[in-house]
Symmetry: C2
Subunit: 196 residues, 2 copies
DNA sequence: AGCGTAACCGAACGATCGGTCGGGACAAGG
DNA sequence: CCTTGTCCCGACCGATCGTTCGGTTACGCT
């Protein structure tokens, strides 16, 4: 492996360009022609680096899923009081969302039209399910309010967390990933009001 | 207008079918052929009722936007303490989302590829902006926590509310629109934890 | 210098896209 | 019974879709 790198595309660097276009136009709304314009190479050249359009999608959502499932393997997500583990997972989810923003954004928007999309949705449901179990454990410990049903509350928590991909832009200063994670944990666990 | 109705499509009834398919496959992922299969009429017959595919999209998002902007005209959204008005708008947003689910779902997913989509995004931003102003007023009143920036907190509140379209299904009993609205208001304003 | 191959290109493939067109079936009103 | 208009259809349009192919360029290695 030589230290100098040629000024050419790798599957990874091409993926970075493609994912950005996918997020701007939507996966189905993006043609290979769009990708070729954005990448600055011809349409046919794309197929030298990746097998297909769907291959690009698979690589992208895999990266996002790896990031999310990696959270559950971390020590603070496995040991300790359930409510504390849930807070930790919440914080880390926001951090992963911001760090891997375009890839997770794409993952959260797949509709299930192809095999790859259905596989992505299935794995994502798997992740959600594991966090939901953590949530229920915290309710059983009496650390989370029981007057709102667990599944419903979990979904709303996920809604708040996942909405980060709709507006977070890393180039805007004053709110990096961990700072946003703090805000999410504060609001989700303690609410908006001052008088609680 | 005759009281008896023939067993045929109207622009509205056709729209209901189309919007459902749009939400399942995505707007760009839906062809007129898909719509014709779902509606049970030929592709060309669709054009007897509506002008174009984009016309269907415009009708759908218009209906959603009308529902949302209608909230701001209601009395409880216009008079009273800002924090109470914000709670009311929050509750009503969830109720409108659940009542007009497929139309609002479509609105929240447009990407801006066509003029209609860009117009929809603009109007939606307008609505968000008005609610954000209400939010800031409640912060100024001291009724909402000031340690999390207003714009950020507003976005997270919207994230929680809008996530309803990702999982709410009216056919599932035990959680109708107003009940979900209660849960959202409780969690958003008072948080998940018991010990606050 | 010469060779092998990574990187790229233009042209074209069959399929499908959104949309158009001329005409047929059928019920209502006279 | 005949007209009128609604509703629907199959056939077709040019454009664009994702992908393939044969061939060219240019770099790394010896």
């Amino acid at each position: 492996m030589s230290a100098v790198k040629r000024d050419t595309y790798t599957p990874q660097s091409l993926l970075a360009v493609a994912v950005q276009v996918f997020n701007e136009r939507g996966y189905d709304g993006t043609s290979m022609e769009h990708l070729s314009k954005a990448a600055g190479i011809s349409k046919s050249s794309i197929y030298h680096h990746v097998a297909s359009k769907e291959d690009l999608l698979r690589r992208a959502v895999s990266r996002a899923l790896d990031g999310l499932f990696g959270i559950l393997d971390e020590e603070h997500a496995r040991v300790g009081r359930a409510v504390e583990r849930l807070e930790y997972v919440t914080r880390r989810m926001v951090e992963v969302l911001t760090a891997e923003l375009p890839y997770v954004t794409l993952l959260l928007r797949v509709r299930g039209n192809t095999d790859t999309e259905q596989w992505a949705m299935e794995r994502r449901r798997e992740f959600d399910h594991q966090v939901a179990e953590l949530f229920e454990a915290a309710v059983a410990d009496g650390d989370l309010r029981a007057d709102v049903e667990g599944r419903l509350a979990t979904r709303l928590l996920f809604g708040m967390i996942n909405s980060v991909v709709e507006w977070y832009r890393p180039e805007v200063r004053g709110a990096d990933g961990p700072a946003v994670a703090d805000a999410v944990v504060q609001l989700a666990f303690h609410g908006l009001r001052t008088d609680t």
